[in-house]
């Protein structure tokens, strides 16, 4: 198949129109009159992890609280492996971005005096079903923002460690876009689908994180030589069994405790960090005291009804489950389980290694949201804040003399040879499933209770390399199949990076998220960031000292 090459020129290119990307575009336009282009693989109206909605804003500084207090909370939850500079600069903006999204139309619950009503220490009650349509509408009103929906960015154009643009393809038509930009923001989100999922059959995509977030941003950065950080801090969510719906709404909303099959509240025994709650659940199951549940039986009819509504606004499958089974939460406790591991910088500290302005180690390439590392517990408002910081950084960096990206000649030939019409998405799916099995068995998936060892990681690495070689030979019959191949290759290189990171941390710091059987205890020699760079086909590991708040970190 022949591809048509289309050059596009913009000032600020945003790769990914999700939470961070959309907000960054709006923040950029508030500050200058330059042009913005959002390249989005799906459609910004419902793309990214907020497609179904979101139930609460989980990062807000309540009256009496301080940004430093939020930093302290996030640092404690991540057992010290955070960037103080990133957390503080994010926390300082949380309340401002909250007011801004309310102004755009998000419903937030208020007290009679007009202040926001709290759900827990840092959380606001909202109706977030329509948060993406709200962002998309705000963007549609800004004439300087162009949105390219259904376009998949697959490669950065980098020379001498500086970015000049990206290569992208239409997912429908045989078009190769060569997009030139003065600065680029990676806001692609994180990665799901690396490990065998909870429901491996027909419902394989019923997972916590969007299955369409393939780690594209990380993979493009890795290939371009960008430094990555803390990938080994995997995120494993504690979820409602089968539907993989959130549990925080039950725990925080109606105060449901985690109980084992004996009816004992076990959560205190293991610590109340995010990873501790998961570790406790895995441990209780292993010791024969499962299944574990959130104790909801006995809540009032009003609470029951409100929960059904709350889940429709973010995870409708759970409400359907309650109603079709006839066992609503007031009648029966909700069984919980851990998900497969994900990589996501909005919850943990995984992602690009950035300076305080959110510029990566590639000049002119910025990162925000789930793509950016060092700054966990971002959630929605933190992703907005980072999008804003990155947009400001990009504006400051921009040089009007930036030359255009070179034409896509070589890339075009390569893609055309892959698009020879002989392939099928089934082959890509098969390799993806093999990859997920390898990661599950050898790199600490669900079936291994998240445990791995140096030896098992070595096996995982060998097998993933073989799969990557096989993926290299895949052919596509159309643009959609080509994108599936890109996505598989993104996941495979990210798996290799993740394995290298897991192997480098000779300790078990976040019980549940990491379970290194060679080193089952915490060792404070590893109070360091584990970073990596991909050089000549291999991952080089760097240990970097912790960065505190108050410092401005430069590369």
């Amino acid at each position: 198949m022949k591809l048509k090459e289309e050059p596009i020129l913009t000032d600020f290119l945003i790769v990914g129109g999700g939470t961070a990307g959309c907000y960054a575009a709006l923040a950029f336009c508030e500050r200058c009159d330059k042009s913005v282009l959002i390249a989005e693989k799906a459609n910004i109206k419902r793309s990214g992890c907020l497609a179904a909605g979101v139930n609460a804003l989980n990062a807000y500084i309540m009256p009496g609280g301080t940004p430093q207090g939020y930093v302290d909370y996030a640092r404690g939850d991540a057992e010290g492996i955070v960037r103080g500079d990133l957390l503080l600069t994010m926390s300082e903006r949380l309340n401002r971005v909250t007011r801004k999204i309310e102004g755009l139309g998000l419903t937030i619950l208020k007290n009679p005096d007009g202040s926001y009503a709290a759900r827990g220490k840092r959380n606001l009650k909202i109706n977030g079903e329509n948060i993406k349509p709200i962002l998309a509408e705000a963007i549609s009103k800004e004439p300087r923002i162009t949105v390219l929906n259904r376009v998949c960015v697959f490669e950065y154009i980098v020379r001498d460690n500086r970015i000049y643009g990206v290569y992208a393809v239409s997912i429908d038509k045989p078009i190769l876009y060569v997009i030139s930009a003065k600065a680029v923001l990676c806001a692609t989100g994180g990665a799901a689908g690396l490990y065998k999922p909870n429901n491996p059959g027909f419902s394989r995509h019923k997972m916590w994180y969007p299955p369409f977030n393939t780690g594209a941003g990380y993979a493009m950065g890795i290939r371009a030589g960008a430094e990555m950080t803390t990938l080994e801090m995997r995120f494993i969510a504690l979820r409602c069994k089968d539907t993989i719906a959130p549990t925080g709404t039950l725990a925080q909303g109606v105060g449901a405790k985690q109980v084992n099959s004996l009816g004992e509240v076990y959560e205190q025994k293991y610590g109340l960090t995010t990873s501790g709650r998961l570790h406790g659940t895995v441990s209780e199951n292993l010791e024969g005291r499962g299944p574990c549940c959130l104790r909801t039986a006995g809540i009032s009819p009003r609470q029951d009804e409100d929960l059904q509504k709350a889940y429709l606004n973010m995870a409708p499958s759970q409400t359907l489950r309650w109603i079709e089974s006839g066992n609503t939460p007031s009648m029966q406790n909700v069984e919980i389980e851990g998900t497969e591991p994900y990589i996501t910088g909005g919850h943990t500290a995984s992602g690009y290694w950035v300076n305080t302005n959110r510029e990566t180690t590639v000049r002119g390439l910025f990162a925000a949201g789930d793509a950016a590392g060092g700054c966990p517990q971002k959630y929605v408002t933190g992703a907005f804040a980072e999008g804003e910081i990155a947009a400001q950084g990009a504006l400051k960096y921009m040089d009007d003399g930036t030359p255009l990206a070179a034409s896509g000649g070589g890339v075009k030939t390569l893609l055309e040879s892959r698009l020879d019409g002989t392939g099928s998405a089934d082959e890509t799916d098969r390799l993806e499933e093999e990859m997920q099995l390898v990661m599950d068995e050898h790199a600490g998936g669900i079936s291994r209770h998240y445990r791995y060892s140096g030896e098992s990681l070595k096996t995982a690495d060998e097998k993933i390399r073989i799969l990557a070689d096989r993926a290299d030979l895949l052919k596509a019959g159309n643009m959609r199949e080509l994108v599936y191949i890109f996505e598989l290759m993104e996941r495979l290189i990210l798996c290799r990076a993740l394995i290298a990171h897991l192997a480098a941390r000779h300790e078990t710091r976040w019980r549940g998220f990491t379970e290194n059987t060679d080193y089952p205890d915490t060792n404070d020699v590893f109070l360091k960031y584990i970073n990596s760079r991909f050089v000549d086909g291999e991952f080089q590991i760097l240990f970097r000292d912790l960065v505190a708040e108050g410092e401005a970190y430069e590369h």
Binding site: K41, K45, S47, A51, I126, N127, F202, H205, D242, K309
Partner: protein, 104 residues
């Protein structure tokens, strides 16, 4: 977890195909929306909310314990009316106003 598009009810407007975050829905040669690979669906229900003809039904796969219930959504300005047909054929409707914050 997936959706089923009822061909006889589909008006071919394409709004579902536009919003699907996985770009999984296509307009087939006869002008109806189709989801060739329903196992790729995430279950976000974006298409269900978008469909003006109530042609898209949301259901839970049997492998995750689905019992045959079906869900559609009627949109009425700020109201979302979720109609859930239970396995025994009875209907339960839950109405949510986007101007009302969640109770939890």
């Amino acid at each position: 977890m997936s959706i089923e598009i009822r061909r006889e009810a589909c008006i071919g407007c394409g709004q579902c195909a536009d919003v699907c975050p996985g770009s999984l829905i296509l307009i087939g040669p006869e002008g109806h929306a189709v989801i060739p690979r329903p196992e790729r669906c995430w279950g976000c229900a974006s298409c269900v909310k978008e469909c003006p003809a109530l042609a898209i039904e949301f259901f839970l796969g049997e492998d995750m314990g689905g019992k045959g219930g079906r869900m559609t959504v009627r949109r009425d300005n700020s109201l979302l009316r979720w109609d859930i047909v239970k396995p025994d054929g009875s209907l339960k409707t839950i109405t949510i106003d986007s101007r009302d914050p969640n109770g939890y």
